[in-house]
């Protein structure tokens, strides 16, 4: 029975708000237990070295030290992706970045553990470090890992959808640009912490700040060589994640192993410096983008090449490498598309998934290049975009299915709100506006490890008190997943979120949800919750319909009441309905689960990029640039986001503004950058700034006003039509800033972050009559493989790999 929405779409206090504002919410490091011990990690001072020997005898004999662990205690490696299992909780033979953990001390208190670390003697044989991706291509030896494509290349791939050279040749204009996007880090306010102990049955339990308790659960079983059934992972509420708590961390294995060996609770809390070492953040990416366009502004094809600086380990790198290409053709129609991507191991903390995972880098290049195209063609950049949009329910050249799209509405809304037409190319010198768009997945279509099981499961128990208890493995990382879960269940059962209790993030008592990544939670957990709640509602309706004098499908659940659609007057309370149903059926419970639809692409590699739905965003940024200092001031940002439907508008707006904040920080200042120490100080490759003071991020004073427009056109694949909002709105900010700077002072900054020194350098070049641009000057010869060739859907392709000459026959 359809009814108007009571809960979904209404601004509400989130279900976990009270615990947060009173300081009652317990994050991992807020937990403590009797007889708890403390762990500290010894980390490598060298970016690349062999471990010749480790002597822990002095440390082990220090009073208060209970255990010292080294790489020898962990013979089994881990890795979040099955193709990149290349990391040990404590390094065994080799260290691969400054900060790589080598040994652990477990002691009565942190102070004693720190003192003991100083007593561990490690003999290293220093190896040549690899500074960045280009250095890694130049120096295949020494290899950082003994696996991968060749030399220091970790992943190397190439895909071509239709004959791209041909499409570029036939274009009226060919644009070729180089872009660079510096790496940056998540910087969650909460530093990772974990507490491991043996429960009353002698089983291992770990409470940890992880975004992905299910994947951690599997990796713990693997590394510790104990059955999964003897491990329980509780994801404590994360104090921010942004992708930084997706990988299992060495520290999680260390406290688990120590708890197993000592039979006592063991806790670790990383320092802020260590959080910079753990990293797994944005990959630095060098890009080359060739795009063909007709004189009336139609895109004919794109050839994209990317080169990723991966850091010392695989992490999510194989997926990240794909993501520097696969989502590029989702916003605009490219009749043909080719992308080549190469990830190189370097002697720095591993890069991985950060909000937008691999896509902000090519999106930056794509959207800045579109601005250049519009300028060259004398077109309005917003019009150029509108002319090339992908259509709803269509396929891309690469066989991604675009379902609903609100991008046109987003562009129209954001240009209207910002006064785009009155401002672009019309503001006085030094002021300008820029536009950019983006898209993001509502959940990755394929799980990280191959299996045919659901991506999310939800169990609901109806208690006779009227409390609705909802179990799900999903993880609350601040984004509001518990609130989404409560809202969807409450809406479906016609109750207030106040009677819903969410039990989440616990592998010991809740059904599996794959985790808080790829913006999958609202859609996948939400669909599973919807199914479970609908099943329960149907059970209850079947029982009470007779009393209500109506048919089961004419029973309405709304605002704590259950009544007949045709006769709303009498009815009963929700609690009365539960009592009646429990008396008739026994204990009331139902499960629901969700797996995304099979992707249309059938070629090897087609599993990365498909999603049940895509969100879309359009952004206008206004800037003021001081031509004497290069200083960039951003007075206002407008963001329109196609969210399908906002489950809780207060939270949705918060996600949008928070995404804009993080994107603007990346655009203007955030950089995880490195430097070489002088030779007399070992010449090591070290962080420029492993501290919050030196890693610049926006404060309240730097943050402009953000005007948010939520574009709501419910998506049929999503629960109550709700698409993602956690990652999408970050993505168009960086290119919109770069485009606004061009509008303000006529210089192109083709790399991120855009700092005042780069603006000044570009202005100086402009004054000398040189190209008014700062950005990469060259793209190295990358040994990309022969592409996997697939014909686009409109060239009689079938989604499978094919021979290139088949294309020639068609064209």
């Amino acid at each position: 029975m359809k009814k108007r929405l009571d809960v979904v779409g209404k601004a509400r206090r989130r279900v976990d708000a009270r615990a947060k504002v009173t300081g009652q919410l317990r994050f991992a490091d807020d937990l403590s237990m009797p007889r708890m011990l403390h762990a500290k990690l010894l980390r490598s001072p060298h970016p690349h070295a062999e471990i010749v020997s480790v002597d822990v005898s002095r440390a082990a004999s220090l009073q208060g030290v209970h255990l010292v662990l080294t790489g020898q205690d962990f013979p089994v490696p881990f890795g979040i992706m099955p193709v990149s299992v290349d990391e040990f909780p404590l390094a065994r033979e080799r260290v691969r970045y400054v900060g790589d953990p080598v040994a652990a001390v477990i002691a009565t208190d942190e102070q004693t553990a720190v003192e003991a670390l100083a007593l561990i003697e490690v003999n290293f044989k220093i190896l040549r470090p690899v500074e960045d991706a280009i250095d890694g291509l130049r120096h295949p030896e020494p290899r950082i890992h003994d696996y991968g494509e060749q030399g220091n290349i970790h992943r190397n791939q190439s895909y071509e959808f239709g004959d791209v050279e041909d499409s570029l040749r036939k274009a009226d204009f060919l644009f070729e640009d180089l872009f660079f996007y510096e790496g940056n880090t998540h910087l969650p306010m909460e530093q990772q912490a974990s507490l491991a102990f043996l429960d009353g049955e002698g089983k291992l339990q770990i409470c940890s700040s992880t975004q992905n308790p299910h994947y951690l659960h599997r990796q713990l079983a693997r590394v510790l060589q104990i059955p999964e059934a003897r491990i329980r992972v509780v994801a404590t509420p994360n104090g921010g994640g942004f992708g930084g708590k997706c990988d299992p961390g060495g520290h999680e294995f260390v406290v688990s192993k120590a708890a197993l060996l000592l039979g006592r609770p063991v806790k670790i809390g990383l320092t802020r410096e260590e959080v910079f070492y753990v990293h797994r953040g944005r990959h630095p990416v060098l890009m080359k983008m060739k795009t063909g366009v007709t004189k009336d502004g139609k895109l004919t094809g794109m050839h994209l090449q990317t080169l990723l600086d991966g850091g010392g380990y695989g992490s999510h790198g194989p997926a990240s490498t794909f993501y520097t290409g696969v989502l590029t053709p989702v916003t605009y129609h490219y009749p043909r598309f080719k992308f080549e991507a190469c990830r190189v191991f370097t002697s720095k903390p591993a890069c991985g998934p950060k909000r937008g995972h691999g896509t902000p880098q090519p999106r930056f290049g794509q959207e800045v290049q579109l601005d250049k195209i519009a300028e060259k063609l004398g077109m309005d950049p917003a019009e150029l975009r509108l002319k090339n949009l992908t259509k709803a329910d269509s396929l891309t050249a690469s066989w991604l299915h675009v379902g609903s799209t609100g991008l046109e509405a987003c562009i129209r809304k954001v240009t209207e709100l910002s006064g785009w037409k009155e401002k672009h190319r019309k503001l006085p010198r030094g002021r300008g506006v820029g536009i950019a768009c983006s898209t993001y997945m509502c959940g990755a279509g394929v799980a990280i490890y191959w299996n045919k099981m659901p991506h999310s499961g939800v169990q609901i128990l109806l208690d006779r008190s009227g409390t609705v208890i909802v179990y799900c493995g999903a993880t609350e990382i601040g984004q509001g997943s518990d609130d989404v879960l409560a809202a969807i269940v409450a809406e479906t059962l016609g109750v207030d979120t106040g009677v819903v209790r969410c039990v989440t993030g616990d592998t010991g008592i809740a059904p599996v949800d794959l985790g808080s990544y790829s913006s999958r939670v609202t859609i996948m957990m939400g669909n599973a919750a919807l199914q479970a709640a609908e099943r329960l509602r149907a059970s209850v309706a079947a029982v009470v319909s007779e009393t209500l004098g109506t048919l089961p499908d004419r029973v309405v659940f709304s605002q704590g009441r259950v009544f007949a659609a045709d006769n709303p007057g009498p009815g009963m309370t929700f609690v009365e309905a539960v009592h009646m149903a429990e008396a008739a059926l026994g204990t009331l419970s139902a499960v629901g689960s969700y797996a995304p639809p099979k992707p249309p692409g059938k070629y090897k590699g087609a599993g990365v990029g498909p999603s049940p739905a895509y969100s879309f965003s359009a952004c206008v940024v206004e800037v003021e640039v001081d031509e004497r200092t290069g200083w960039i001031h951003v007075p206002k940002i407008w963001m329109a986001h196609d969210i399908g439907r906002a489950v809780n508008p207060t939270l949705a707006r918060g996600q949008v503004i928070g995404g804009v904040y993080m994107g603007l920080g990346e655009a203007l200042m955030e950089a995880q950058s490195f430097r070489r120490l002088p030779e007399k100080l070992s010449g090591a490759l070290v962080h420029r700034a492993p501290s919050m003071l030196d890693y610049k991020s926006l404060t309240s004073l730097d943050m402009p006003e953000v005007e948010v427009a939520l574009i709501e056109d419910p998506d049929p694949n999503c629960p109550y039509g709700a698409k993602e909002v956690g990652q999408g709105p970050l993505l168009p900010v960086m290119p919109a800033v770069a485009n606004a700077i061009f509008d303000a002072v006529g210089v192109r900054i083709d790399e991120i972050p855009i700092t005042p020194d780069k603006v000044l350098a570009a202005l100086e070049r402009k004054a000398k009559g040189e190209p008014a641009r700062v950005g990469p000057e060259a793209f190295p010869a990358v040994p990309y493989p022969e592409p996997t060739f697939v014909l686009p859907p409109w060239e009689e392709g079938d989604g499978k790999e094919t021979k290139r000459n088949a294309a020639a026959a068609v064209v």
Binding site: V21, S32, P237, G240, R272, V660
Partner: protein
Amino acid sequence: MLARVRQRLTVNGEEADVSFAPYKTLLEVLREDLQLTGTKHGCELGECGACTVLLDGEPVLSCLVLGRECEGRSVQTIEGLARGPELHPLQAAFADFGGSQCGYCTPGVIMTAEALLRKNPSPTREEIKVATAGNLCRCTGYQQIVDAIEDAAAQLRAEAK
């Protein structure tokens, strides 16, 4: 091991006797020896503002104050802000306006805001931003924090009438 220090201080309006290792910061004494884990840590170096508490009514970074400096002094933490079962207007506004997402910076920001509103019951948005500029937040983009503080200020002014 160094001998522990014993001292008395006032925490959230109540006398507290506490003994702790002499090197400990006020942050550590609160979290580890008084079990008041509502106060968070983000850096332990005075960079992030997460550990802000009120010391004799003034906002301080408790990671930069030694426990030993607090003998006989009055400390107020997030745990002492609510009015019995009722939320303080700042807490209610943070909950209603989306001022708290992951919630980790929230106690520090709320205590900073409490100090601001005691001194300046009618701050402008700019004054709110200046007062909270030392409290980093990675989730909200600050806008809804400023909204919340503005609303709480109005609530408190209405109460004072």
